[in-house]
Amino acid sequence: MSNILTRLPSLARDYSGACSALFALPSLNLLYSPGGCSSAVIECDEIRDLRQTLFFGSKLGEMEAVMGAEEEFLFQAERLWVQNRQAELIAIMGTPVSALTGVDIGAIADRLSRRTGLPSLALPTEGFETYYSGVYHTLLTLGKRFLERRAKINNQVNILGYTPLSLGKETHLSEFIDQLGEFGLQINGLVEKNNLETFKEMSSAALNLVVSHEGVGLAQYMQKEYSIPYVLNVPVGLSGMQQLFQVLAEIVDISPSYASKQRYALTSRASLGQRAVVIGEPLFASCLASCLRKDFGIDYVESISLMKMDRRMKQVYLEKALSDVHLFESEEGLARWMDKLQPDIIVGDPLYQRLLSKGCTQYVPMPHVGLSGPLYADAQYEFIGRRGYDYLAGYIKV
């Protein structure tokens, strides 16, 4: 059944990605939808506390959907803003119905902006693309709209592209952020709740650390506009942290302490001829694959993503860090490839086990919220630095 997803849900959609990227900002997020579309965000895709965000979905009857409800939408959106004055911006997201009926979200955003005096963003979401596209476009739109040239702060680094959809709860990044803090670096990025002014300060950074491929668009823009270099790296395992140290030394001129170096000293593991596959978000899969090679001595590691590429993001896939990632568009194709390869180790979301023939491999669960939603979001797993190494070592028998 090559057309039917019998075993896996689709990845979270673009408007869920947009909402996720906006979570950290005081943004009034409005979904132009007949009424059911917000369920995906509420029930599956946003694992953080929705009470901390201003997220609303419209409800339209058939008449409003067909004829358009722009005036009512504007009127009600303005009332929402009056009730929620702490919002510093408004974001309007489209869904399949608004796409099919040709609703001009951009025009609605412009008019709302004039009425409220708040910047209003029209995000190019339609519910047909993956969340990767939603996060990518949201970050890029925010960057283009709000960033401006500022004086450089040499010890400031930004973390770009974090959402729980790709990297799980923010607690997974704590070792990473703590390490950066130990180096005396100021960290900016949409990881914790922030205001718009803090977002604007991102253009002062000396370096952008991109932790998912969705963040590359903003990173490329910031390099072009503000000459801020960027590196694609999720510091998975010991070698991931070592790579982070190398980047910081080269670009920000920071040397890790002896203690830090020792903490992440590479193990020397003999290669035992095993073959491994990592399935996940493209950059994450690539970095995890690198960890398996360098920390565990596994020579043959393939990194894979199950996704359909958004052509608007094609510049992202030209990045060297992603060049070794195989992209599969269908689960049938992925399952056939895995059957043929017969890997000894698979690292990926537990749901991918449904695609596998029984009893073949060591399976290392690495939940991907953008796929499995809340099912495994609370599971005990790690991937960053020492904790990540220890977690993987608990499964990988070498």
Binding site: S10, E46, S58
Partner: protein, 414 residues
């Protein structure tokens, strides 16, 4: 999130006094805020609960993704098949070919007894015609293929559960009707009756020769078809009532309507209805005594405690039941207010209840982040969501007969 479309109002306030509601009806909101609402959740699980009925959900992935997780929650995902449709597919109508191919493959590999095709707003809006495909599959393979329109655009004149009920009736009409009537049917969408359900006990005692068939817990498609040979239908909720009514019209099967209730008068009415329907006498005084015993205990413990209620459609009913036993309901959270709620609202007003009604989607962030201080007990997911410091009592979605529902809540409050 509500399955029903928006009813235009001028309401922007977040809270109302009970006495004001009648003048401000309809109370609804254009925007829904971010709290999960299972109002539409039952639909896919209802379609999936009958064995050998497979569901194919065709539409944008954004629509089908949530169906998957709802089905997983109930352990029904093996019968749910997702056919994602791209923007280009919609524009070209190519998804219809894919659907036909998928249905053919499903029928030949799974041997489904029936298939329900879930279609979304996108196809409803574009007026996609599915009948020719479903008819082709039906005539080629001899199995029924029904189309169900889901989502708020499909509301039109009948509600989603009614339309699903229509589909089940169409499927039942294909069954074999026998003269001998051998069993009782429990019709409802809330899932299998708990083992310790009082209703189950009563039926076991008094219906010794009859089999009890539960719509939500059938063992085979044949049992589903055999519902038409029932001796008596017992409807447990609105879905069950609609189905029972149609079965009575078509096959003259009598039915009783026993919706779960919280207040004493309606509970007693249910007992009476059941006894008269079965032609027996049941001494439920023990149940009533237990209810009064728990009330006395709870009322003592909860003197002065402020309660918030937010359980969805039956919030006013529960609030009224709690007030009638002397408890103080301070806040009621609702998504909207409908005419059937006015009965309870008027009773609450008459007895002088000072409860404030919050329209969930109009709640401001300052109210939300304030955590509604001063609320001691929050009953229901909506109440618990907003009353951050209150003791949380979640109400089971299972059917509760007689005093079971209200007792469970009262005992949780102690």
């Amino acid at each position: 999130m509500s399955c029903t479309g928006y009813i235009r109002t001028n309401n922007e306030e977040e809270k109302f006094k009970l006495a004001e509601i009648a003048d401000k009806m309809p109370l609804d909101s254009f925007f829904d805020s971010g709290i999960a609402d299972d109002e539409c959740g039952e639909l896919v699980n209802l379609a999936l609960c009958v064995p050998d009925i497979d569901v194919v959900a065709i539409g944008p992935s954004s629509c089908s993704r949530v169906l998957y997780f709802r089905a997983v929650k109930k352990g029904l995902s093996e019968k749910l098949f997702l056919l994602p449709v791209s923007r280009n597919d919609f524009a070209s109508g190519k998804h219809l070919e894919k659907l036909e191919e998928a249905l053919e493959e499903l029928v030949t590999t799974r041997r489904s007894k029936a298939i329900i095709v879930y279609i979304t707003c996108a196809d409803i809006l574009t007026g996609t015609e599915f009948v020719s495909i479903t008819k082709r599959i039906e005539s080629k393979y001899g199995i029924p293929v029904k189309v169900f329109e889901r989502g708020p655009l499909s509301r039109r004149r009948t509600l989603p559960k009614e339309r699903l009920g229509n589909i089940f009736m169409d499927l039942l009409l294909r069954g074999v009707r026998q003269e001998k009537k051998s069993h009782l049917n429990l019709l409802g969408d809330a899932g299998k009756l708990p083992k310790d359900s009082g209703l189950r006990q009563i039926l076991k005692n008094y219906c010794v020769t009859e089999t009890i068939r539960e719509f939500a817990a059938l063992d085979s498609y044949e049992e589903f078809e055999d519902l038409v040979n029932g001796k008596l239908n017992i409807a447990l909720d609105r879905f069950g009532y609609d189905l029972a009514l149609r079965m009575q019209e078509k096959w003259d099967i009598p039915f009783l309507y026993l919706p779960a209730r919280y207040n004493m008068k309606e509970i007693k009415h249910n007992y009476t209805t059941l006894m008269e329907g079965l032609g027996v006498t049941w001494d439920y005084s023990q149940d009533a005594k237990e209810y009064h015993r728990v009330i006395a205990k709870v009322a003592g413990v909860l003197v002065g405690k402020r309660i918030a209620v937010g359980i969805g459609a039956r919030s006013f009913e529960l609030a009224q039941a709690l007030v009638s036993i002397g408890l103080s309901v301070a806040v009621i959270f609702v998504e909207s207010v409908a005419k059937p709620d006015m009965r309870y609202i008027n009773t609450l007003s008459t007895v002088g209840s000072q409860a404030e009604v919050y329209l969930v989607s109009n709640l401001t962030v300052s109210t939300q982040t304030g955590g509604l201080e001063g609320i001691d007990i929050a009953i229901g997911e909506k109440a618990a969501f907003f009353c951050l410091k209150a003791k949380e009592i979640l109400v089971s979605a299972d059917y509760r007969f007689g005093y079971e529902g209200i007792l469970e809540i009262l005992e949780g409050m102690q």
